[in-house]
Symmetry: D2
Subunit: 146 residues, 4 copies
């Protein structure tokens, strides 16, 4: 089972599974989790002082997803109240990786690693991840900045 | 049963229902149809000479939905090949209404009326529907322009 | 402006607009609201004693949407905290209609009327709306049951 | 750049990017690609003799996604006509992995590896991938069955 590193700060958020999130297999569709994980990242940023709406507008910078790895251990179902634990696992000028574990009543359902790069809007050219984002990462990670 | 008016030009498009489009009720989720209908409108515009991507970019105008009425007579299911018949039912400076009937093998499933207004981007202020859009409507409708 | 009838019980729920909910017009896509409205209906039912997950499973009954009317007065945007006020406007053996007004900081954005019928699962044949659902409606509406 | 192995059979499908598929970053939302990839898998199966709708219904078996790795090299945009090249990269009793490259006019946008397991419906217990699915894989892969 994936472990949360000892030296990171974990943010915890909850989402309620909607009917629309399911498919005819009677479980949450695999693509739906990206909405849950995005919500968790936006709320983690808010808690740590970055309002993503203002970040994007004021800096004309975006943080698009460049890489996603997700493992579905067990299925979520309609009306489940999911707990999402998220932390920053990698943070450097090239990318920021958010890792998440999704639980239902203590049972691990999903393990995700989502990497974001930084782009200049509106053209979308890659640029360095700004300091305001890197400063959100834990000191242990900041030491690993490239 | 809703009828297609005699004096309109009907565009016909097809969509294949995806697994993700279903919900645990084993039918297409009611919100999914808006993606199908949007696809039909974009293709109708393309057939009649308006590439919506260029329209938006070149004119800095948008055509947001301002009103939607949709009646679900029967359910669509996974892997159905749907036929969408679409026509312009109303066209004037204030709005353009696209009506659609969705069929599966000749059986009517859905009847939709989707009205669009025109807005200036990026702020989104309402403006007049431009002539290039009004000219797409049938002569009978163009006579009813306000 | 649409008014909430004087004699109904209004349920209030909140949703936070996600990034995925927007489109390149920089507003919430018109189809996204159906997810918000469905969430509001499920929560209204829960507050009034019906857990929809159990309702569906225990009775092998579904409540599919058969008719939707929605008017988009103003656009919601990323990260808006929306307030959804929902009440039961019609309740009889044939259908239950949930009406909703969606606000952002007191400004009306959207007005929706969503009608549900009752079907026997899994085939989806229409049946009478059961008493447990009708009993959720206000006394004034229950008097109008057909 | 990821390469297509020499000894696999590649299926090619096309999808047109819809307006709803975009987000306010003016590119296709990262979660949307899972719908495109699912469509490609269903069509690959159909081409090779397995109608997934019937497979699921007749065998009471599902093929849920258990692992997804996706790398976003460049962004897709509204109205792009995407080419999806898909092949079976791994096929054994435990899982089937579908790999896809998504192109726009010859430019690689996305590289995805999606692994499916087999489950017995409706409870969702894991079972062996049936022969009818394994037989779709190339002979070179079938030799690697565990």
């Amino acid at each position: 089972m994936p472990q949360i590193p000892a030296d990171v700060t974990v943010s915890v958020h909850h989402v309620r599974v909607g009917y629309v999130d399911t498919d005819q297999g009677c479980v949450v569709h695999h693509g739906t989790y990206f909405r849950y994980l995005e919500h968790a990242r936006v709320e983690l940023l808010r808690e740590r002082g970055v309002d993503y709406k203002h970040f994007e507008r004021d800096n004309q910078l975006g943080l698009p997803v460049v890489d996603a790895n997700i493992r579905y251990h067990q299925s979520a179902r309609f009306d489940d109240l999911l707990e999402i634990k998220t932390w920053i696992a990698v943070a450097n000028r090239a990318k920021v990786r958010f890792d998440s574990l999704i639980f239902r009543e203590g049972t691990l359902l999903t393990h995700a690693q989502i990497s974001l790069a930084c782009t200049r809007l509106p053209e979308g050219r890659i640029c360095s991840v700004p300091t305001v984002i890197l400063d959100l990462a834990d000191a242990s990670l900041r030491g690993k900045r490239s």
